[in-house]
Symmetry: C2
Subunit: 109 residues, 2 copies
Amino acid sequence: MKIRDFRQVTEREEMPGVSLRLVISPEDGAPNFVMRVFEVQPGSSTPWHSHDWEHEVFVLAGEGEVVSSDGKTPIKANRVVFVAPNEMHQFVNSGFGVLRFICCIPRVD
Amino acid sequence: MKIRDFRQVTEREEMPGVSLRLVISPEDGAPNFVMRVFEVQPGSSTPWHSHDWEHEVFVLAGEGEVVSSDGKTPIKANRVVFVAPNEMHQFVNSGFGVLRFICCIPRVD
């Protein structure tokens, strides 16, 4: 068993304004999927992109929008987002504080 | 894409004092793993047990303890817990409010 505060995990910059912590990963012995915590700064966004794996997202803090091919949907704490494989998506921080969310993905190594 | 507040998902009682919402599941199209939100009432606990799949946990609210074969460790918001396959574990609410946590598991149907 491994127990820690997510802030103890090394933060790495994915791109300007977007950071990522790999809070549970194969390094911890996780065999099937990975838990990550993203922080998006106000005015920043994750890329508009797709890939052949899914996202399972839980919003922890902040306010923003999820963009899909169907348009934009507001998100804030307690919102759950399922992004299917190969679906275009983007997370936008349109608020004044950090947009923080958990994003789990299958193990892809 | 599916977006909703986790509280919109039907809550079911796992056992007295312990409820569960299946917030992302195969019904949503999730191919590999499942996101669940547990709520444990003050004084209640999940069972002391093990199984051959892992847990990836993020604590959202409340205070409690995780019990393993090595003893008890305090948990509260922002703590991440990885429970390996076949590891004995139990989540105990030792606080005054609801202990709420995300618990992801591989798809086991």
